[in-house]
Symmetry: C2
Subunit: 132 residues, 2 copies
DNA sequence: CACGGATTTAGACTACTTCTAAACCTGGAG
DNA sequence: CTCCAGGTTTAGAAGTAGTCTAAATCCGTG
């Protein structure tokens, strides 16, 4: 949340008002928004913001490691402000995506996969979130 | 590939020429095709086949457990004829998806996830396939 | 052979994403 | 101060994935 302006600058992304509005929303939520959701929220701060700018900005933030696009939900890319390794749980009833800490699961056996140079992996779980 | 006709019938899907063409292709490949790829291939056998029929048929095959839709590649659903549990490896250079046997990996720790009722899970890996 | 239900079809339509070309800053050189 | 050049933003067009609709077709039964 802190100083988004400085965060963008130090990541090498010139901080324009539009980019700040996008970054403030996407970096401040854990809800895995789609580009359109980011557009809707960021427009509250910057009403002329265009769809193209949102896509450009999200792509740029991703290139600079500030968000991570994820292919988990059907038909859309969602953006995750949580950039360290972690797993995901998808609630099939609501479509909501939850982050699962890396340490909650342990995966072994990758070493047997000689044919593949695995650069990254994650466990994707689906089911229902228990009401608590 | 055996008797697709019987396979459809016994799964409760009325085997029409269009459905046979779709099923023959999608059940006979390990390439995780998209609906459009299935359309292109199945049209060789059945040139009047329409896009809508391909979507309808793939949905029906999925409902009857003969294929499994997967959300792994950006922006598209791919269909996997391999319906038992398994993991996936995505080659980031080519976009190709490879099946990884269930036994090749072991995941532990799901039990700590009290908040979630995990009905299904898989490991999704990304990287480069080694040329062999 | 007519009927009715299931199936197929083309094309319209929606959603998501990328592209394009014009407009718009903004900051430095003259 | 003015002009220019870069980068940025914009609306809308275009491209791609998938769904929907209504008419046409097919097929088994009476």
């Amino acid at each position: 949340m802190a100083d988004i302006y400085e965060l963008l600058r130090s990541a090498g992304v010139q901080p324009t008002p539009q980019r700040l509005a996008v970054a403030r929303y996407v970096l401040g939520t854990t809800s895995h928004p789609t580009a359109d959701e980011v557009l809707a929220k960021a427009r509250r701060e910057c009403p002329t913001l265009s769809r193209a700018t949102v896509y450009n900005t999200l792509t740029r933030l991703a290139e600079h490691g500030l968000v991570r696009p994820q292919t988990i939900r059907e038909g859309v890319v969602v953006f995750d402000a949580h950039t360290e390794r972690h797993h995901h749980f998808v609630d099939e009833a609501t479509g909501k995506i939850y982050d699962v800490p890396w340490e909650a699961l342990s995966v072994s056996g990758e070493s047997s996969l000689r044919e593949y140079d695995v650069r990254d992996y994650q466990v994707v779980m689906r089911g229902r979130r228990r009401k608590s």
